[in-house]
Amino acid sequence: MRLTVAASWVESPLKAFVDDGRVRLAILLHSSGQVLGQFGFARSVDVMTACALAAATAASSAELGRLIDGRPFNAMHYVGVTQQIFLAPVPIEGGKLVLLAVFDEDSSLGLVQLFFQEFCATVKAIAPAASAGEPALDADFERELNRNLAVMFGRA
């Protein structure tokens, strides 16, 4: 199983979307390009880079939509030789996330769109509001940070 969730509430709707829609990979990301969760066959995909590019594509096409149509474009669908991608905003309370789905001939655009609607409804219902959360790092985290950076830059 390949499931990586930065936020645990993402797990169930992503899995349902991948299973029902027969998609190979689905990634839910923040519009800044950060991965919230992924499910599916991610072996051949550099997920972090895919998210950076997906967020940029989603953001630029929304802008293009505003420019041309006065409102953002919604979903995008790209067709490759063997793979297709579907990229669409997922509205949540007070903002939006982005879903990137990769699928092949086991699925279809129609199926992906169909299950995307269900996915959006579920996510909207369960996505928690952003919160500050508990402090993650120790007060003296700088020591470890400086040591790690020094090692990275060969200055240790």
């Binding site: 699925s107 279809s108 655009l109 769109q113």
Partner: protein, 115 residues
């Protein structure tokens, strides 16, 4: 706006028990044209039926039976029929008591007129 399928669909929807008929892209499951009674979720029927049809097509080819022509799924609450030609699938949603023999003949006949 009329499509090349409008006349065919209008004729099919008039059959007793038929609640929806549509022409769907076989590979993308997207509706090309449709005639639906209220309450029929056209895009869901289109996507799921095209997927089923494709699956049957692949299984049939793999089993050495060749390409699938007519396909019918009978469920407790109704039937879904599909028949394909040139990357398009003609889909019909009907009640359980429809005369499927006539529907099948009409669908196969209608396919002949597909571009």
């Amino acid at each position: 706006m009329n499509s090349p399928f409008t006349q065919t669909l209008s004729a099919l929807i008039r059959h007793r028990g038929v609640t929806g008929c549509m022409v769907v892209g076989e590979s993308d499951g997207i509706i090309v044209d449709s005639s639906l009674q209220i309450g029929v979720n056209g895009s869901a029927v289109a996507a799921l039926t095209a997927s089923l049809y494709r699956k049957a097509q692949r299984a049939s080819t793999a089993a050495g039976f060749g390409m699938t022509g007519f396909f019918e799924l009978v469920a407790e609450g109704g039937r879904v029929c599909a028949a394909g030609r040139n990357e398009m699938v003609l889909v019909i949603v009907a009640g359980a008591k429809v005369n499927v023999g006539i529907i099948r003949m009409e669908m196969l006949k209608a396919l002949e007129s597909f571009p």
